[in-house]
Amino acid sequence: MPELWLLVFACAAGTYLWRGLGVLLSGRIKVDSELFNWIACVAYAMVAGLVMRIIAMPTGMLAQSPLVDRVAACALALVAYYMSRRNLFVGVCSGVAALIVSGYLRSL
């Protein structure tokens, strides 16, 4: 699918734009301006919105698990993360394991 490759390269070029611009502008303008604050807000909100939507209303494989299991697994992942002194690996693995185990228990 050539269109798919083209799309990936357009996304790659667009993402590099910020990195390249960062090299160009480094040392020339201030990082903590109001415009940067707003851009950071939009970028954060966009990723948070997508992740929340995937957890609440997933497409594909994930749609086969019940909502309550996904929410409980996320909560457990967060608890495991803080209890392991902020170890992201422990948190993520606990969440995934919780969803697999709950799915297995439901299938019994």
């Binding site: 798919l4 799309l7 990936v8 390269f9 357009a10 996304c11 790659a12 667009g14 993402t15 590099y16 734009l17 910020w18 990195r19 960062g22 090299v23 502008l25 480094s26 040392g27 303008i29 990082v31 940067f36 604050n37 707003w38 950071a40 807000c41 939009v42 970028a43 954060y44 909100a45 966009m46 990723v47 948070a48 919105g49 997508l50 992740v51 929340m52 939507r53 995937i54 957890i55 209303m57 997933p58 497409t59 594909g60 494989m61 994930l62 086969q64 698990s65 996904r70 992942a77 967060l78 993360y81 992201l88 690996f89 993520v92 969440g95 995934v96 394991a97 969803l99 697999i100 297995y104």
Partner: protein, 236 residues
Amino acid sequence: MSLQDSGYRLGMVEALGVPAAVLGAGFIGYGSLAAESGYSIWLTVVATITIWALPGQLILIEMQAVHASAVAIVLAVVFSGARFLPMTMSLMPVMHDPRRSRLTGYLAALLIAMTSWAAAMRRSPDLPRPQRLPYFIGFAGTCVAVSAACAVIGHYLAGAFPPLLRIGFAFLTPVYFFVILIGDVRTRLAALALVCGALAGPLFYLVNAQWSVLLAGFVGGTVAYLIQRWSRRTHA
């Protein structure tokens, strides 16, 4: 061993610990997601190396799943990468070495992402200046290599396991971001943006799935920004 070689080595060794494990988990999730979405193994790997931003890669795949237009997808992916501008601007002066050309900076910038940026910002002050860029390249290059390998593993795992485990792999990426976003909040503004985005994401999805990522980002992010400005003014 020269100072530079030891810089590369130090970066590689430090990347092959918790950073590699965390990224590996994230990219196994991405690889299986890409496989479920019909990406070939080559496209999965090339997207990882060229885009090199997991949120952007997730947006790309999820928006294609709801048949969003190419323009909307590219706009959303590009905007989600906006964090690289302030990150690159703050990292470049730290690594600056007058004996290197500006081109080196542009090439090194290809490797900038959250994990390697944080490591280089934290480590550079302890290192002599000629060693800083090699350290970053060693660290970030290792991250890219591990992530690409794990994306391949994830792509393979997606088809090889029973549905129950595949659901688990599909859950890797969202839960990874769920924990990293909440666990990494440092400012009140970031927390506000997260909450507004988390509310706006599902809401806009119900209104218009194709444009929801972009709309939720702009509306949620702008509302968060305005709330912060407004509350600062009333408290000041």
